[in-house]
Symmetry: C2
Subunit: 439 residues, 2 copies
């Protein structure tokens, strides 16, 4: 057994890379450190840091995409507003799983939800000269915060762990009553914490968004993956919770990456609230000669960002959504494998003295899904990550997700065998020894 | 024959759409006007306004993309820096056709050259607080100018027709000596005019870019399509001209859209000058914790823009480039069909009293390729477009491309049969009658 790797080895790797704090690194640095440690150990790491799908891509999509290629779609620019097949299928898909009526015209494909959020943030930051701030409910997906920074927008945030239930409204109001919040971003279920906001909390967000004219960007990357309820039956309750029930100021982002394990093709859709899609902004008209929110998103922002989204991948997503709507593609049951992996690996962490940092949605234990968060007593992130790395386990520390609490994010994508669970168990035993020896 | 459509009909359509000047519209408005006129006529228009490939997609790409789908790449996020196969093939492709040595690590896939230029403009505008301006050699591709506007960068431009040969250097210097130019953008051959800058002109641009530390963004959308020379033989002169021979401050953009008629899949590569790729900018380090130009392009800008480019399309472009390099995919001869269409349709326009607006590269007549520009005596753009539309011909007027001269752009993509050439001839006869009747 090549673990634990000596602290001196880690220190030497960090020195070579000119990194002073292992827990405060860029993504590439994090990957480079883990790779160097892996080489040092000569034995594979447990890669719990990666957010890639841990399942094969949905075959319905692959077949549809190949058919589109054979029909010659690569020679034709896709309509930037999206192919009709995808717009229609997505409208039905949203009705089936979120129970919202959004017409096809308000739904637009994007190069992953990343492109969607990027251009929504950019557009929202230009609607009103007084509104230059994007508000984030943290912890969250780090690149969403970087997007605002790249465009020179201001960023505000708070940690959801400290402001749940009746504390949420006053906290939102504290930010919004300044009048400078253009949009707010959150995901439900949440990456990294798997917090699922309750109906009451979503209503609070919706009410505040309406009151202060703030646009809510709702990231549904993990749609229907709160497995505490069975959300797998199209057009039947219960449905995926959504802020769209409580305000007209919303845009939903639905990515094929995790729902259909189709991350490689960079395909998603955004669905605008119909009234927001049509809403006229005089500032947009001044800038671009087009006034409507939705038209500008398509004809200004997506146009210059990439001139639309892969033609063949649009057919793939259309087919996968259509099959789901028709009960031929039970994606929710497919991704339930993540639930099992989370439940089992959580038990292992808990057995070795860890705790779940974001542990509850009100009185309910947090669900088992794609991610969860772990902490070890009052250990700080630098020490936590150092010891885990020395034991052959890579994770992302919570400070990089905007959390104000100590801990790390665990992704269960890679934990796809009993052997890996056993390995996790062994390495966490080592971790405990190291932690308790204070070495 | 349903043409000419009455002026009153056009006026009524424009009134309904609240458009005061037909030649000064957004793209969507232009398309909507042509569609409404087409419905009015009950007969198809000649669509010379569209820049879509007029050839089937390269089969080598389609086959490679299908194989990648079958291998399951859709479930895996592509490396944002690009798959090794594509980086390597593009490096060889650039050596084969541009005779430049650019290592694979300096080459990165993007969602079309649109994403490349968009993010290069954004990055260039953040390198130095004093340099906030993007300089365009016009006429040009309108969205490239919109990209700067979307990010709040300043725009400067001049019309190449008035500043060729020995006039180019002083004109560039007039802008650059102000010290605020971050980057300049041009394409070679040029959309819309098909102007091909000479070696002397490229040397001038390169010298100025070096002298004033300006980054040249060279759009090679129409690589090897100056058919006045045979550029079809890999690794053999003559090669595609490029500013990269004359400065280290360059980034090339190579899109699969026109070269391989692969526009639908939104796939391109950018190739950085090796020294620029590695160049450290203190401002980038302050902002993003990463100093190098190339690393920031990948890990900051492309990361938040879309998290990389379609995994399967990367395999398609890699295969098409590799096959070209090995002499198995003679893309230059394939796209020479545009040359024939241009030569024949130009003759028709000239016969009916039109002139070529951008008519020469120094003493040589402009080449026959994907686009050319037409004018009719001293007719202004509003009247030119009105009369052409009334005769069933859609084009783009040159004012929308930043040109200071009257005229319109003709795309030959759709002119793929003798019947359509004949139809063009008939409709231009009508145009002549209308123009001379002063109606």
């Amino acid at each position: 057994m090549n673990f634990p790797i000596a602290q001196e080895k880690l220190d030497s790797i960090l020195r070579q890379m000119d990194i002073s704090d292992v827990s405060n690194t860029t993504i590439r640095q994090g990957v480079a450190i883990a790779s160097a440690m892996e080489r040092e150990a000569g034995e594979p790491f447990l890669h719990l840091e990666i957010g890639v799908p841990g399942l094969p891509a949905c075959q319905v999509g692959i077949e549809a995409q190949k058919r589109a290629l054979d029909r010659g779609v690569p020679s034709k620019y896709p309509n930037i507003a999206g192919i009709p097949e995808l717009k229609k299928a997505a409208s039905q898909f949203i009705k089936a799983y979120v129970d919202q009526d959004i017409p096809a015209e308000c739904i637009v494909p994007t190069v992953g939800s990343m492109q969607a959020c990027c251009n929504l943030i950019l557009e929202c930051s230009q609607l009103n000269p007084d509104k230059d701030t994007i508000l984030y409910i943290n912890p969250g997906f780090a690149p969403h915060m970087l997007q605002a920074k790249v465009f020179g927008a201001q960023v505000a945030s708070f940690d959801i762990l400290d402001y749940r239930a009746e504390k949420l409204g006053p906290k939102l109001e504290e930010f919004m009553q300044k009048g400078n919040v253009a949009a707010m971003v959150f995901s439900n279920p949440n990456n990294p914490s798997w917090v699922c906001l309750t109906e009451d909390e979503l209503r609070t967000i919706g009410d505040m968004a309406t009151k202060y004219d703030v646009i809510v960007l709702e990231d549904m990357a993990y749609l229907c993956m709160d497995f505490r309820q069975d959300l797998s039956h199209p057009f039947e309750p219960p449905f995926q919770r959504s802020v769209s029930r409580y305000t007209d100021n919303y845009v939903m982002m639905l990515s094929g990456s995790k729902i259909f394990s189709y991350a490689g093709e960079r395909i998603a859709v955004v669905a605008f609230s119909p009234s927001l899609f049509k809403r006229e902004y005089s500032r947009l008209r001044e800038l671009y000669g087009i006034g409507r929110m939705g038209d500008n998103f398509i004809l200004t922002f997506l146009y210059v960002a990439s001139s639309g989204t892969s033609h063949s991948a649009q057919f793939a997503l259309a087919a996968m959504m259509q099959a789901a709507v028709e009960g031929r593609n039970d994606f929710v049951t497919d991704v339930r494998q993540y639930e099992k992996r989370a439940a089992e690996s959580k038990r292992i962490f808990l057995r070795h003295g860890f705790n779940i940092v974001y542990d509850k949605d009100m009185d309910q234990p947090i669900g088992d899904g794609f991610f969860y968060t772990i902490g070890y007593h009052d250990m700080d992130n630098r020490r936590l990550l150092s010891l885990l790395l020395r034991c052959g386990i890579a994770v992302i520390t919570l400070n990089t997700t905007g959390s104000t609490h100590n801990g790390a994010r665990v992704s269960v994508a890679a934990l796809n065998s009993p052997q890996l669970m056993e390995r996790l168990d062994q390495r966490l035993s080592l971790f405990e020894q190291l932690a308790n020896n204070n070495s």
